[in-house]
Amino acid sequence: MTEVSARTEEVHGAMDDPGTGSGPPPARPRWVVAVPVAAVVVVLAAVPLFLAPFATTTLTRLLVFGLLAVSLDLLVGVTGLPSLGHAAYFGAGAYAAGWVSIHLTAAIPVPLLVGAAVGGLAAAATGWVAVRSAGVYFLMLTLAIGEVLAQVAQSWDGVTGGANGLAGIPAARLGGESLTGAGFLYWYVLGVGLLAFTAVWLLARSPFGAALRGIRDNEPRMRAIGYPTTLYKYGAFVAAGTVAGAAGSLLAAQQRLVTPDDLGFTTAAIILLAVVIGGAGSLWGPVVGAAIVVLVRDALGPGLGGHGELVLGIVFVLVVYLLPRGAAGLTTLRPSRRRRT
């Protein structure tokens, strides 16, 4: 899957390689990629059999935020749109899935589909103004949209429960059985996560994804050769919002609680930094980035006597200097720096 980031140059043959600074990858047989991927999937699937419940619970959480990071990477790494409001669609999906689970049914896949749909709709409603700006202005506009939506969640007591959050979300149900065990919930989240990851990966490999990378690297040229670039960016924004909404529905199933903090600035910033830590554009790197961040903050943090944030800060600084291409850069084992043109 490392091919994804390196395929930039294949865009319709019209693009040169301005972004990654890496040449075309040497042709590799399929098994070079397939075998490690299969191994990772097998290990992930087998984990609940060997890990204690808390480790499995933590891993479930990592997967949820990992999927959120993948969806954001579709914007940041593939399309070149750094969003500081992506948690809004994650939270919208989480609230919708939680609300449906409480009031209608928690039967899989209803909350998942509703969460994804609401995430996508929220992105569709707000994305059109967002994608017309760029760079830091895009960053700030998405921040503003995210903060306004977080405030809506805070104020709309009747539906969201206000600052106390939407509590008492029932466990997801499959065929009439509640998935209360940490292991079963993990398998559900893993299954959805793998499907969604595959969908995003296929999207990024498609001609549509190639066009998005073209926009990232040189938007005026893409426009000049006839691409409706704003429409493409809007499409990416809505797709990312939909996947984030799906991740949100997994959060509702895992955390059994949704609060305004889930769609606020902190979550948005943390997940954006997770994408950077993991290596934007590789899709799988951000999963690792999210794992690092969530592991430090939520799993190790409570045992660090209140110094979880200090450790997180040190991790950020170290990653910037030691892993200039993010975690994804580790696989290429080349000392070259990202974005050096």
Partner: protein, 296 residues
């Protein structure tokens, strides 16, 4: 009706005071971003350093000596911290803004945590210096003298920064750097020294703003991120990299935070980001923005 008018005039005046403070806070962020192309998310932490310096020196008993001492100490710390941040971001020169954001946010988390360890968890207050700690009667209501003085300080600093950037040789160099960094380097000016100078000055303004804001905001855990977001909003509304933009942005946000909340109390929680969204939808480059910063 006259009472309503007087109360709102007072809110306008108060908006000026808050705007003055926001200008001192945000102009450094704007210059560092616009000129040096570094997104410094540690700016809020620098403000908090200034606030805690003020709490430590002035908290025990307000005197002009202590207050000016706090200003001086905070300025020195700001200069050094700016130099340090400049050096830390130097290896990231050709990397994306997001890498800089990661680094500076990491630094911000570390600084905030160290401050919490050193000064404790409790919120601290900073008394205003003697003579400014009372209030005066304005439009039939008491108004704190310190906030009036703050308007004056903000005006003086705005003029000073404006003159420095628009009228001096150094300012010309700075503006030239904003316009075309490669060209400035090509004519033989050492970019890095300009960067260190701007970074140090910008950071100094942030720590000084922390001291100046002390009597209003105090010093507490979490203040850094609130202030950072406010500064980012100011800078983006005004447009990046211009002193005039930072000033207009600060005054606009000062009014939104003051008059806006007075006129729309039920929407108080929405006005700040609602206004930001509105400005960016209507003018995607900010009110006075150039193209700088449009490419992340």
């Amino acid at each position: 009706m006259t009472g309503w008018l007087a109360a709102n005039l007072l809110s306008v005046l108060n908006g000026l005071a808050i705007g003055a403070l926001l200008f001192v806070l945000a102009v450094g962020l704007s210059l560092v971003f616009g000129m040096m192309d570094v997104l410094n998310l540690a700016h809020g932490a620098l403000f908090l350093v200034g606030a805690y310096v003020a709490a430590a020196l002035v908290g025990g008993g307000a005197s002009w000596g202590a207050f000016l001492g706090a200003l001086g100490l905070a300025a020195v710390i700001g200069l050094l911290a700016g130099g340090g941040l400049s050096a830390m971001t130097e290896p990231l020169r050709r990397r994306s803004h997001l890498d800089q954001a990661l680094l500076t946010l990491g630094v911000a988390l570390i600084v905030a945590e160290v401050l919490q360890i050193v000064f404790g968890d409790d919120p601290l207050a900073v008394p205003a210096p003697p003579g400014l700690d009372g209030s005066v009667s304005l439009l039939g209501a008491a108004y704190p003298t310190y906030r009036l003085a703050l308007i004056g300080v903000g005006a003086v600093l705005a003029v000073a920064v404006h003159v420095l950037v628009e009228r001096t040789t150094l300012g010309a160099l700075i503006r030239a750097t904003v316009a075309d960094r490669e060209m400035v380097a090509a004519v033989g000016v050492d970019n890095r020294r300009v960067k260190i100078a701007v970074f140090a000055a910008g950071s100094m303004l942030a720590t000084v703003a922390g001291v100046l804001g002390g009597p209003i905001y105090g010093a507490s855990v979490g203040l850094d991120s609130t202030v950072l977001i406010l500064a980012l909003v100011v800078v983006v509304i005004g447009g990046l990299g211009s002193v005039r933009g930072a000033l207009v942005g600060a005054l606009v946000i000062g009014q939104i935070e003051s008059l806006g909340r007075a006129l729309l109390p039920d929407l108080a929680s929405f006005v700040l980001f609602g206004a930001l969204a509105l400005v960016l939808v209507l003018r995607p480059q900010g009110l006075f923005g150039s193209r700088a910063g449009a490419a992340a």
